[in-house]
């Protein structure tokens, strides 16, 4: 409850600068030698521990998410990947028994600070869930939901956002003639892309995706993956996935978690071809997990 109170966040000049979308660079994708050391950090996790009641779920996490890149979180079930990304937009605050220590910094500002407005934070970190969750309203209203709750009523602004978001979510051509029909009539894959459109309509900096394809068929999965690839550069994407190939296909960096600990974090290519840790190697080659 206390976390929900509305506060006006003073956006510092550094923030404003940071929020400018980074231009997608073709060079990034094609250059094989990616290195975390060369990346600008958008989100930094520092000494982060998390408990569900008495049970500790995350242990001493330290990692930096690069700006404008796709970072995949992989690991066996229950290793804390989802817990981590749900901590980034503080969705875990909704669970009474959750406690945490350590810090996370978005653009250098702690997201757990006393002066942080959770609502503002969530607007800057769009999220796409495992289970598609379009709201029971029209496609149009779904996309502008984050703006609606801000009280935006100017039709020109809303129309523009709808078109831009749906285009980015590669959904515009399919739904442009039925924007005012219920979103619940769409197919599963379309619904998930609609959820992505909704997540990016408020122009977040970080896009959190919690197994976005696990409920989709291969074709819909392909579309969403292509979409993630295209969103690279516009947003910093953090994606949780169980699908090794998917991680290899869409991400620039991959972090491997095991039992709540970060085991290895490096460029995706390195993780999948030449991991430095034995556990990582076993996992990515399918020997366990």
């Amino acid at each position: 409850m206390a976390l929900m109170e509305e506060k006006t966040q003073v956006t510092t000049p550094t923030h404003a600068a940071a929020r400018r979308p980074v231009a997608p660079s073709v060079a990034d994708a094609s250059t094989p030698s990616l290195s975390l050391a060369n990346e600008e950090t958008v989100l930094e996790v520092e000494q982060f521990n998390l408990w569900y009641g008495e049970k500790q779920a995350l242990f001493d996490l330290n990692l930096k998410f690069p700006r404008g890149k796709v970072t995949a979180l992989i690991g066996p079930s229950g290793c804390g990947k989802s817990t981590l990304i749900r901590s980034i937009n503080r969705l875990n605050d909704l669970i009474d028994s959750v406690r945490y220590s350590g810090d996370m910094r978005l653009n250098g500002h702690s997201i757990f600070g006393r002066d942080v407005d959770v609502i503002e934070l969530r607007k800057r970190t769009g999220m796409v869930f495992q289970k598609t969750n379009p709201f029971p309203m029209s496609i149009y209203e779904n996309v502008i939901y984050p703006l609606r709750i801000d009280g935006e009523t100017r039709k020109s602004v809303l129309d523009e956002v709808v078109e831009r978001s749906l285009r980015r979510a590669a959904l515009w051509d399919e739904v442009k003639d039925r924007l005012h029909e219920s979103a619940l009539q769409m197919s599963g894959g379309q619904q998930q892309r609609l959820c992505i459109a909704r997540a990016i309509s408020a122009e977040p900096e970080v896009l959190l995706m919690d197994e976005p394809c696990s409920a989709l068929d291969p074709i819909a999965t392909g579309k969403v993956e292509e979409l993630i690839y295209q969103l690279k550069g516009l947003y910093s994407v953090i994606i949780v996935t169980h699908n090794m190939q998917q991680a290899a296909r869409v991400s620039d960096y991959t972090a491997f978690f095991y039992l709540g600990r970060l085991i290895e974090y490096d460029a995706t290519e390195k993780i999948f071809t030449n991991p430095s840790n034995k556990q990582t190697e076993d996992y990515v080659t399918g020997r366990f997990g």
Partner: protein
């Protein structure tokens, strides 16, 4: 290799292991449970269907015009009337012995059971009775006289007999009853309307005048100049109104005099006559000469009267329009009150309150509230709403009318609020369930978009839970519309002179007492001086109440399905 083959081969087992033939037991297969559960459903369905069938059968047949039978008994009496019902009874040996031999024989072959018929003879003003039992063994002759008529009268119930003469100014005329009946009825309605509307209006104005004067007196005292001024003005206006009143009364008297010219001379089957004003005959038909089309005509005309007019004859005849109106209006007011109240309470319980023992206690208390006898709610409604709240309202807003209460007595608003209180647990429970059923993925999706808790509830949770809320409301309406006991002490009356809605400001008079179909059933069936005649009306009224509740529910279900389509969707 060979071992593996032996393991799965179908060779007879070694002699050491004896295979018993195993059969699945009956309980394991669950056959008896199928029969038990199916039987339970069948019994429940049969009971409900039987009850409905009884109500529908009796309710629909009530208004069908029956033939008039003329029965001459062995002791020379003649009776004319409709056969209401037939039953068998057992004669005592002495009674049996007194009968002629052929009758004795007939009754013996029927196992000693005699038959008797209830004849609706009408003519209460002459015979002092509406009905007459006639035993089969006393019947000497049965006929269906072609010229027998049934007259439904405004007062005194039916007249069953013969049409002797149609009179104008006491002299026979060649005009037919059908010709004269229309104008006579319109005169009758004209008088009614003059008395009720125009004269009622004058009376209302007079009352208003009195109240205004009283208000001035209460405010500035009886010997203030303001009062003197008001009194003078009131006196002048009062004189005007009295003049108006005189004119109206004269007009009524004129129409009455005109009306009295047209009469019919009716004769009973035993020759007694009665002169009756044509205008006081509601409906008349030669019962034994009706074609099927005419029978249908009478039937429909009775239904029409039932649905569209006021009751007469202590509610046993005429219509139930005020009761229909009262029932629907009360149910709607109740729904308007119970829906927001229940939803708000459920929202707090489910969304905001901290789950714990205290909340569980509150939940149990709410559920138990549904088990409190409804009459207790009635007593509470009378004590709290009528006397405390209503009394306060009277003192604050209607001091000039005191000691006559305005809101401080039973009224439709208090009855509706009492029923809302009675049904609020239903809505709370249904809403809580609906709220709990909203998938958490939706809530999280909304939170992740940066919505606050209230925004999430308002935009996502509530719309999604709306069909469930409607279900609760439907249950509450069904419960509330059929409830009678609490209404009896919070505003329902046997006969309400005025509807709660009329053409006078503020148009909606929520303080007025009202009629209710459920109470009407009780009143007609058990409080009526002429209970035999009222019995069919009980069925018809019950049928109507059931239809009305079904209609209200169907419309609510329609709304719910539309909401469901809109908010819950076809996927998954």
């Amino acid at each position: 290799m060979s071992l593996a083959i032996r393991g799965i081969s179908s060779d007879p087992a070694p002699a050491a292991t004896v295979r018993r033939e195993r059969r699945t037991s009956l309980t394991a297969r669950g056959e008896p449970m199928v029969w038990l559960t199916g039987g339970g459903l069948a019994v429940a369905t049969l009971m409900i269907a039987g009850l409905l069938l009884l109500v529908v059968f009796n309710g629909t047949l009530t208004f069908w015009p029956k033939r008039l039978v003329q029965i001459t008994t062995r002791d020379g009496q003649t009776y004319l009337g409709e056969i209401t019902r037939t039953e068998t009874y057992r004669l005592s040996p002495d009674q049996l012995a007194a009968l002629p031999a052929t009758e004795q024989e007939r009754i013996r072959t029927r196992g000693g059971l005699a038959e008797r018929q209830l004849l609706r003879t009408g003519n209460f003003d002459i015979f002092g009775d509406h009905f007459k039992w006639i035993s089969r063994q006393d019947v000497a002759r049965t006929e269906y006289p072609a010229e027998a008529w049934t007259f439904e009268r405004q007062e005194w119930g039916w007249f069953v007999g013969f049409l002797k003469e149609i009179r104008v100014d006491g002299k026979p005329t060649t005009q037919s009853l059908a010709e004269l009946h229309g104008p006579a009825r319109s005169r009758f309605h004209q008088i009614k309307s003059l008395e009720k509307n125009e004269i009622g209006e004058v009376n209302r104005a007079l009352e208003e005048l009195r109240l205004n004067l009283r208000r001035v007196a209460l405010k500035s005292g009886k010997d203030s100049p303001a009062y003197a001024q008001a009194a003078a003005a009131a006196g002048k206006r009062e004189a005007e109104l009295h003049k108006q009143y005189e004119t109206l009364v004269a007009e009524v008297a004129r129409i009455r005099a005109e009306d009295a010219r047209y009469t019919v001379l009716l004769a009973t089957v035993d020759g007694r006559t009665k002169e009756q004003k044509i205008s006081e005959i509601v409906r008349a038909y030669p019962a034994n000469q009706l074609s099927t089309a005419q029978q249908v005509g009478v039937y429909l005309s009775r239904w029409w009267e039932f649905l569209t007019s006021d009751p007469r004859e202590a509610n046993t005849e005429g219509g139930v329009l005020p009761a229909i109106f009262g029932t629907v209006m009360m149910t709607l007011i109740m729904s308007l009150a119970v829906a927001p109240f229940g939803v708000i309470a459920a929202l707090y319980l489910r969304e905001y309150a901290r789950q714990g023992p205290l909340l569980s206690a509150v939940r149990i208390a709410v559920n138990n509230l549904a088990g409190v006898p409804s009459i207790v709610f009635g007593v509470f409604g009378l004590g709290f709403f009528c006397y405390v709240v209503g009394g306060q309202i009277d003192q604050m807003f209607y001091p000039e009318k005191l000691p006559t209460p305005t809101y401080g007595t039973g009224g439709i608003i208090w009855a509706s609020l009492t029923l809302a209180l009675l049904t609020v647990p239903v809505v709370i429970v249904a809403t809580e369930e609906a709220l709990a059923a909203v998938p958490s993925s939706m809530r999280e999706g909304s939170y992740a978009c940066g919505a606050s808790k209230w925004q999430t509830i308002k935009r996502i949770v509530l719309p999604r839970a709306m069909p469930g809320v409607m279900t609760g409301l439907i249950l509450a309406m069904a419960r509330g519309a059929g409830e009678v006991a609490p209404l009896m002490i919070t505003g329902v009356v046997k006969l309400a002179p005025e509807l709660p809605v009329d053409g006078h400001l503020p148009f909606l008079h929520l303080n007025r007492s009202f009629m209710h179909l459920g109470f009407h059933i009780y009143d007609v069936g058990f409080q009526s001086p002429n209970s035999e005649a009222a019995k069919p009306m009980v069925f018809t009224t019950t049928l109507l109440l059931i239809l009305l509740i079904a209609l209200l529910n169907l419309s609510a279900i329609y709304v719910r399905n539309r909401l469901k389509k809109r908010y819950v969707g076809a996927h998954f």
